[in-house]
């Protein structure tokens, strides 16, 4: 399975991508929502997108809204991964079409739990 990691922090992209790779994903990264959209429009096919909220150029919520507006991308599972932790923000993200919401900081166990909920944890993990 392939995951798109969208975050303006290179360190955070590396952490999230590393956790996903340990769970058997291949990953591709983008530094903001627009870069991520460009990747999808260029034909990049992913099963999962992990999306930061606050980013320059295009924020995560806008990205989620745009992905949900395109039926071709309906199969992509969208998970916000962000420090934004107000109740109302989680509600907004879910209403916009995000499937899950993981609040930073998180442990690698937490990311695995969320993927498990989404049915996205591969059966065989690399040892």
């Amino acid at each position: 399975m392939r995951a798109l990691v969208i975050d303006d922090s290179r360190t955070m992209r590396r952490i999230v991508a590393g956790a996903l790779e340990n769970l058997g994903f291949s990953t591709v990264q983008a530094g903001d929502g627009q870069q991520a959209l460009d990747l999808l429009e260029s034909g990049e096919e992913v099963d999962l997108a992990c999306i930061d909220w606050n980013m320059p150029v295009m924020d995560g919520l806008t990205f989620v809204t745009k992905v949900r507006a395109n039926p071709a991308w309906r199969s992509i599972t969208l998970m916000m991964v962000t420090t934004e932790s107000e109740h109302g923000q989680i509600v907004r993200a879910l209403a916009a079409g995000a499937h899950e919401y993981l609040i930073k900081p998180f442990t690698t166990d937490a990311i695995r739990d969320k993927l498990d909920l989404l049915g996205l944890v591969p059966a065989e993990e690399p040892v």
Partner: protein, 340 residues
Amino acid sequence: MSLTQDTFAFVADVVRRRSAIQLEAGKEYLVESRLLPLAREGGHAGVDAYVREVRAARRESDLAEIVEALTTNETSWFRDNTPFSALRTHIVPGLRAERTVLDGLRVWSAACSTGQEPYSIAMTLTDVLGPGARFDITATDLSDQVLAQARSGRYSQLEVNRGLPAPMMVRWFQRNGHDWQIADELRRTITFTKHNLLDPAPVGPFDIVFLRNVLIYFDLETKRSILGRVHRALRPGGYLVLGAAETTIGVDGDWERVPVERGSVYRPVQAGAVPAPRQAPGTLAGAFTGATPAVPATAPRVPAAAPTSTWPVQPRPATTTLPTAPRRPAGPAFEQGVTR
């Protein structure tokens, strides 16, 4: 049981060097409780004997397992998913089909730790029973400390991140400073009580008992006596839910295994009841219909099952289907945990 200082010092040193986590004096209980499943899995009587072997064998894999056991916090919401989707798609529909009125359902969540399990049960029952349905959950643990947190219903950011689906989070939790507070509506459905599994069960009868990931800590005789008390506390036709790596088979023959989704639940066999068929056709999980104790290949901490002939109590290798169970469980709850 208590650890020798030598054992504790060795384990603390391994964990410190590999994870930077300091296990200070006073954490002997933690070391013992986390390593006991590994010791039992390896056929040792206790943690001291297990650690002696680890030190002699010098296997890298043993050391890695010890570090993992001591640094992993296993407490998550909807842990393992399957028991909660089983509650939704099999157990409640099963009880509903057998009773005229399904009101006042009683559940015992044994060894409930900081409360994630009973609250996950409460969230599930609220959904599946519908508005206005009454149920009550007795949640017990040995530790006053974990019960105090469970009762408060207040959880840190890291705790709510663990396995709690976001829609459930926004429905049942509100921010309270840096923490999250669970809704009073759920708290009211649960009574938290201190209880030792070696003592008589809380006052039943219960319709459903969750006893997950705790039998692994006990020897065979103790497991058997705990299962006996649970059996007596369950209503006829009730359900027992064990951990993914646990089974009554080879321990206590008074249970009938019902394959559900990727695991099993158990129902008490009543005295004088006609033994269940050895194998029922059309079970939901065909792989689990054999007489061999079936354990998911992914379950890492299974106490090794001895040949059945050595057990004083003959296991009852029975599996049946629930008459009411949907042939093809549908909906997102079932899909949870299914690998794509």
